[in-house]
């Protein structure tokens, strides 16, 4: 059995770890609430925008470059991760899905390029020895619409220059505080979604000032919004995942402290008993 002093030392070290995990959990909880509000506010807008655009894309046949489906020669895969770890399988799940998608595309004989949003994703891509086209880091905590605009601009430019013919984004979709789902979505070309209520939209739409003018501003805007949404979804998921994993770490520390305390008390008891035995033994020896 370990010495009393050593056990005491371990207990105090576990206690201070517990304090840290507990504090991190509280910080994540606060960040999570903020992130959750933002994503819940944005969702209806993003969804309506998607509806409006897919109705449009389904009813008209335009030559807009962002809607055009080209022969797939090169696919860009973007991994959306966090800047920090200590959030369970949050980042690992993304990487698993990315690797899977890469393999799928490669089996279709399509070239793949990778980009990452978030420091963890950047590191993970590099560590696997995969080529990294572009990386955006330092977004965590203060995601603004400008971040989404910057990313969208880069993607659109490269798409129009035919650096790649398809863009796929892998991110954690926020379901609830306990559930996050890895989501793989195609950003470009914009999908021609088959409408669930076709009769409503079979009428041709009129455009003011012109179809071209509307598409020219609305399509990039939509991409920005979809990216912004993914950023916020991912942020909420990350904080939720961190909250859960810190909660578990705190619980584990509690269990550990309990078992160490028990061990400590047993050891203390044993040493007291031993001392008593010595004294009693000594007294007995004197009597005779």
């Amino acid at each position: 059995m370990a010495g009393l002093k050593e056990i005491r030392k371990r207990i105090s070290s576990v206690k201070s770890t517990k304090q840290i995990t507990k504090a991190m959990k509280m910080v994540s909880a606060a960040k999570f609430r903020r992130a959750q509000t933002r994503i819940l506010e944005l969702r209806p807008y993003a969804e309506k925008m998607q509806t409006v655009l897919s109705n449009l894309a389904a009813t008209v046949d335009t030559g807009h470059p962002l809607l055009e489906i080209r022969i797939k020669k090169k696919v860009e895969i973007i991994a959306l991760t966090g800047d920090k770890g200590l959030c369970g399988a949050f980042n690992t799940n993304i990487m698993k899905a990315v690797i899977k998608t890469v393999k799928e595309k490669q089996s279709e004989d399509v070239e793949v390029s990778l980009s990452a949003i978030g420091k963890k994703g950047t590191d993970l891509v590099k560590r696997r020895g995969l080529p990294l086209r572009q990386s955006w880091t330092g977004l965590a905590g203060r995601i603004s619409y400008l971040n989404a605009q910057e990313i969208a601009k880069d993607i659109i430019e490269n798409y129009i220059n035919e650096t790649f013919d398809e863009v796929v984004l892998v991110y954690n979709e926020f379901k609830s505080a306990l559930v996050q789902k890895v989501s793989v979505v195609r950003l470009l070309p914009l999908a021609k979604v088959v409408s669930e209520e076709p009769q409503e939209f079979s009428l041709p739409f009129a455009y003011e000032p012109s179809q071209q003018a509307i598409f020219d501003t609305m399509l990039p805007k939509n991409l920005e919004i979809q990216i912004f949404r993914a950023l916020l979804e991912s942020q909420a998921s990350e904080e939720a995942a961190r909250m859960t994993s810190m909660e578990n770490a705190t619980k584990a520390a509690d269990d550990m402290i309990a078992s160490l305390t028990l061990q400590y008390n047993k050891a203390r008891q044993a040493s007291i008993t031993k001392e008593l035995m010595d004294i009693v033994g000594g007294v007995e020896a004197l009597k005779h």
């Binding site: 209806p44 993003a46 409006v52 409503e200 009129a206 455009y207 003011e208 000032p209 509307i214 912004f228």
Partner: protein, 133 residues
């Protein structure tokens, strides 16, 4: 209800309004226009302005800061960069914004000019809407 339009106004900061209304007047980029039920399907962009919707005897005014509107026979979706119902407008903030924008316009170079003009227009529209009530 028969003859009514389902109006949804959404912004990146949340749903502003979702109601069944009789009549809508919206600030289109090509000029203000009205919508009644059974309107032809069309899409246009919106400029800074005030959207008016009437439901029965009730009239509501909503400040719209640019965006898009999709009109179909029985439904209207407004995608605005931001929007506020007239009762939610912060008059003091709008007044302060107006002052700031005017200040900037006085000694603005070309880059800031468009932004300051837009800011001024937003502030003025908000103030007008508050006073209208």
């Amino acid at each position: 209800m028969e003859g009514r339009i389902k109006l949804d106004i959404v912004t990146p900061h949340g749903l502003v309004l979702s109601e069944d209304v009789d009549e809508i007047t919206a600030p289109g980029s090509e000029g203000e226009f009205g919508v009644l039920a059974g309107h032809e399907s069309f899409i246009t962009s919106l400029s800074i302005g005030v959207l008016t919707c009437k439901a029965g005897s009730k009239t509501e005014y909503v400040f719209i800061n640019s965006g898009y509107i999709e009109v179909t026979a029985e439904r209207v979706i407004v995608l605005a960069d931001s929007a506020e119902r007239s009762e939610d407008i912060d008059a003091e903030r709008a007044a302060a914004a107006k002052q700031r924008a005017e200040e900037r316009l006085k000694h603005a170079d070309n880059v800031d000019f468009a932004r300051a003009t837009a800011a001024l227009e937003r502030a003025t529209t908000r103030i007008q809407l508050v006073q209208k009530k």
